[in-house]
Symmetry: D2
Subunit: 426 residues, 4 copies
Amino acid sequence: MKIVPSSVQLLLERLRATYTAEEARLRLSRQAERAPERTLRSAREASSANISSLWRQLGAAGVEIAGVEQELADQRTLEQAERYSGNIEAMVGTVKLPVGVVGPLLVNGLNAKGLYYAPMATTEAALVASYARGAMVATRSGGVTTALLNEGVLRTPGFKFSGLIDAGLFVEWVARNADELKAAAEATTRHGKLIALEPIIDNDIVFLLCRYTTGDASGQNMVTIATDALCAKIEQDCPVKPLHWFIEANFSGDKKASYIGLITGRGRKVSASTVIPEALVEKHLHVSIDRMLAYGEMANLGALLSGQMGAQGHYANGLAAFYIATGQDAACVSESAVGFTRMERREDGLFVSVTLPNILVGSVGGGTGMPSQSAALSLLGLKGAGHGAALAEVTAALCLCGEISIMAAIAAGHFSSAHEKLARKR
Amino acid sequence: MKIVPSSVQLLLERLRATYTAEEARLRLSRQAERAPERTLRSAREASSANISSLWRQLGAAGVEIAGVEQELADQRTLEQAERYSGNIEAMVGTVKLPVGVVGPLLVNGLNAKGLYYAPMATTEAALVASYARGAMVATRSGGVTTALLNEGVLRTPGFKFSGLIDAGLFVEWVARNADELKAAAEATTRHGKLIALEPIIDNDIVFLLCRYTTGDASGQNMVTIATDALCAKIEQDCPVKPLHWFIEANFSGDKKASYIGLITGRGRKVSASTVIPEALVEKHLHVSIDRMLAYGEMANLGALLSGQMGAQGHYANGLAAFYIATGQDAACVSESAVGFTRMERREDGLFVSVTLPNILVGSVGGGTGMPSQSAALSLLGLKGAGHGAALAEVTAALCLCGEISIMAAIAAGHFSSAHEKLARKR
Amino acid sequence: MKIVPSSVQLLLERLRATYTAEEARLRLSRQAERAPERTLRSAREASSANISSLWRQLGAAGVEIAGVEQELADQRTLEQAERYSGNIEAMVGTVKLPVGVVGPLLVNGLNAKGLYYAPMATTEAALVASYARGAMVATRSGGVTTALLNEGVLRTPGFKFSGLIDAGLFVEWVARNADELKAAAEATTRHGKLIALEPIIDNDIVFLLCRYTTGDASGQNMVTIATDALCAKIEQDCPVKPLHWFIEANFSGDKKASYIGLITGRGRKVSASTVIPEALVEKHLHVSIDRMLAYGEMANLGALLSGQMGAQGHYANGLAAFYIATGQDAACVSESAVGFTRMERREDGLFVSVTLPNILVGSVGGGTGMPSQSAALSLLGLKGAGHGAALAEVTAALCLCGEISIMAAIAAGHFSSAHEKLARKR
Amino acid sequence: MKIVPSSVQLLLERLRATYTAEEARLRLSRQAERAPERTLRSAREASSANISSLWRQLGAAGVEIAGVEQELADQRTLEQAERYSGNIEAMVGTVKLPVGVVGPLLVNGLNAKGLYYAPMATTEAALVASYARGAMVATRSGGVTTALLNEGVLRTPGFKFSGLIDAGLFVEWVARNADELKAAAEATTRHGKLIALEPIIDNDIVFLLCRYTTGDASGQNMVTIATDALCAKIEQDCPVKPLHWFIEANFSGDKKASYIGLITGRGRKVSASTVIPEALVEKHLHVSIDRMLAYGEMANLGALLSGQMGAQGHYANGLAAFYIATGQDAACVSESAVGFTRMERREDGLFVSVTLPNILVGSVGGGTGMPSQSAALSLLGLKGAGHGAALAEVTAALCLCGEISIMAAIAAGHFSSAHEKLARKR
């Protein structure tokens, strides 16, 4: 019996069949002798002239660009080039993702209220159909109840001192001067408010957890700039001098799943729920409530035993498609796709809820001003100032629809066949 | 001194200023009286006719579509509509993301080898510029060394029995019949291979961890279909009958960060590294090696104390931009953005490495056949069969570039100013 | 190549060699026919009479008690029986753990100050010797710097409502009435203070994170009783009625490792550090600073990739031995053994620090009044009121000694031989 | 509104009221001037002469030993001193923990079978009574079903190479020579078997996960010594030379909660369950099944949202008390107190199960030979060779009893009052 796992043995066999050790070593060694190529002269500003110039450089570098250039740098893209400036560098064109619409989705929220048509950009077959099914069932059940429960984007500078005592004196100074620091941070922004300032000490290192509300924007840049000002104020006024400090010491959960995000929230925390009458469960989801609950029990166990953060099915699918379509930062899917999906039998049917503590969306700023993203937000009816909180609630409502549908598909035994039908026909 | 956190108090104050309790209750209650709207008659197949029909329905439903329709359903999109069929439902158009190019990036890998121009789709200003800086420095340092270390996509059906003893007998049957189960699974696919089958018992529930290699595809559908066949074989032949079973019991880490992914890997595991000579660190990154290491120490501490999985800076930024541009599943950023970034002082400079255990990319399948995504893969030189492993290595190399650049920016104190300069000009 | 892991196959083979499936099923089935034995008539109060009575019952039940009774219920134990009443039920005697002493350990702390002789109860050979070596080196280096950084024991009742809106109104009522709730909680205790009250909502469920300082006691019972009063006050006065509520909803990290504990602390958070001159590292630890740092790098990586909470070597060893010797709750090792050990090269030698966010110790209450535990606290010089904080600092200092020694043993390659020498002679 | 948390402010106020910054700095600074005290001349062998000698040294060092010495170094301890040699260093006496008995506990296990009287050593009032209540109910319900599901103690050496390619070649050599390495490891032990050898690469670092079965012992020293031999064999024969390597690179989950332990198991994995008829739930636990399930729902949610590993109530209480009483390593509570407790309504009552993947117990070795620990094992009927697996099953059965009782107490609203009654009378 081999005690080394079969997957390791397989990989090694494949490698051995391809290279000798010497060949592998050669492939992996630094190419110091090779003169490093000239880097693309990157265009800071997107414009049709700059785009064309980059393609010329790519062609000159030997990249095969026939057919490629016109697909990325199509006519319309070149015409709208200026509108992308400020959001990208070294732009060579645009990539087009198909957008499907889910709706009408009835939302009964503190901030969102009414019927929504949600745009989703994805290339995964069956995804839009699945969310649409969830939305249809939720809407026919009387809609999705949503509430924004908490709010605050973190930025966490770190300060290193010569020892524990200076770290402690620094914390004391910060606590005494919290009002001045708040004023310094907020002077950089019209919409950002510093709502909590929490020091965390590990011996000679102090992390300052700076938590902000960010108005209608998702606010990642806003909090960076505000925190920079806060740190500059510290640097200027605080008599306890750090050996060094950094604007972000990797404690904020920015662009990654983290327990600080799961527990305290980052961005907007929203809960969304509905109760689906038993008849609708059976008619539209083709499954019984009991079987849904049986699946829920096993899925929760699987989540716990495999070391998920929280327990949910596939928030990431809905989040990625919705973030991309509406000009949000798709990288934030990494931190947003964390939370908890629950099911319970109620007198009036099947209760399902989702709670996402880290939704990072804005109805202004970021990519919301790009031509098609802006159009997608208009289609949703949540473009521009005043819609940030509603946008977060619709995001959660959409995730709820996705959870309802995927759990039903798995519980009913249709998960594989749905994918097979919709995806394999390609 | 208030013992309730200020953020909670603030939110409550804002709510009180907006609604009475009764108004809030009304907003959140189910709208049973409201006749649920007619759902969009969704078009399964994307075609210009179907797209137009959906816009008519949206208009009839009262959505303001003037200006919106033409931005999403532009001429070119309508012309190419058929090419999107099979990847989306209820398609109303396309959303366009600007694509920047990073390169040339010199990669010395087991699978990727040479100079690459990497397309990145993002609306976050400064992102492409930052990755480009990292790529320039890495290339001038002799390139990025990469190796595919492991491979295997998980799908994890779960089986519930009447008790522990049946669970045990089931596991025994599975172990004895592993070869037949493997054959059943592999009969569904030309490229997928079942390389490990691991049962995990929790009393009366058995999870079967089915791990596959998936050829050049990312393989998420492939493993679902293969596992469905494996389960059908079990259902047919196994004398120990489960009370119920599900094709996926939430143990696979699919579309979410999880410790099973961090520890055992899901998809392709790749490590990428380089050594940057001290002179290049100082010239191009404007910072000393010591300061980079000081940042690394603090960032690692921050990662651990905030409960990250692994410890890294912003893989998610590079992954999202690269996945979107090249037709990968952007939702997989949630599971891929996990790993470990390390720095060390070496005799010949600053060693930096990244290891990502969960890269999910394919050079075929998924969204790689969409018009502009296909073009982006061509630009990269990794389109079609035979390039899956190289694509994974370039993905990791790109993440390395992003880590080098962001750590340098933070260490040098330029993080905030770079964002301010590039993003605030909008 | 077998795709089922070898460990699973081995276990199955062993089972098959032992039982048929039918025999296994028989062994595991419920013994409904077997009349359940009469339960031990448990003695609530420990006394020599009760102890003897229990032994008679055990003998009557067929337990072989010859030689056993006198080893557990020895003369001295019987004499002191009354002193154990109030800490145990169904007492049949005492178990004796050997106690070793580590010291003198020089502590320079905010609360602990001077030379300490720390009692450690363990049956693991080499453990006391290892901690003693660390203490010797730390003391010769000028002592261990310690500071209590934070304090607060959590108890987290949970409340379930009929819906999200009631959950929200409940939170609002709690925030408005926080002062009254604090008063109700604090009325139950002379020493406990409610210092934070934080609501966390998941749709229709509200967790109330109640955080207390607990004077010189570890305070686990104190916070339970205070929170019970707080909940009773809510039940009496709050107009928003929960469907049901529970005094502890498993959110507190009580008796288990948890990220809430790692991030926010539970009990007392203490950091301890020292700088060991290079000459002492080499003379007493038989290793170079470089090798210590090389080990630290690898150990940190191992911690992250294996999914530890925090990163440390073996806090649990020191904590268990010290908690048992001094009458603390040994079960709290599960939550206390979490934190972060750091090393750095400094001008004056090797900096090593530990930070433990969840130390649960008391110089009064719990098991501190037991005869030998009380003596052990006296030996340490930290018995009775006024010593809780100092006790926590000594706990952390001791963990630091253990980390120094084990890391040096592993780095020097002595880890295995030390265990072999000290343990194998048995 | 103060944005700094109240708990931080309170601590700072208290500090300010005690010290000036200068005084604090003085307290925390290194006492270089103070001549380090002479260290206790530690006695390696426990004997009455050595014990007395240590007390003389303590007295000479100024420790107040009147009353203390005789409590720790009582007559019986001095008489039995030799029996402790080999398990402790610098022994000054014994600490006595009261032991209560829980039973009879009916176990229907693959390995344990029959009625058990389980000794538990604790100073926490109500704990034994609570476990006894659970045992009584489980026994009257037909007993606890248990099965050992998996087995294997990890030790994880780490090897650092000059680069990725050497790391890869090293893994290849290890995979090819696995049989020889297994032989080298197993040559050091009669009972240990190397059952899996899994390499994990992070760029230039390779962790070797060595998993052993350890016979009837818990086996922590056994696997260290075996792995040392395995590494020596590598050092001698492997042509790919590491820059450095360490016998344990902190990847094993040894003495700490970790996801590698939760997911893959460390030590013995056992599941235990029972079904309690509704009448018994109500009669003995004073609560309804519905309320138990309502509590289970909330407790699971609390576990997930607070970032536990697994989800359970208080395994640590039972484990610590049982480990201490039976001579196990109490420090292992840190890793053992991880797992999953489930409840379900079944036709015949309330199903409750626990699954613990990391039970580390032995019926031989460790502290099992100490006088009173040996007696406690005899009382249990599981002393000596042949009982390791049964001991693990009884451990899990006991944890099940504890979960039943605490969940019932909390669900019924008796949790606080039980503690108040039993603990406050002190």
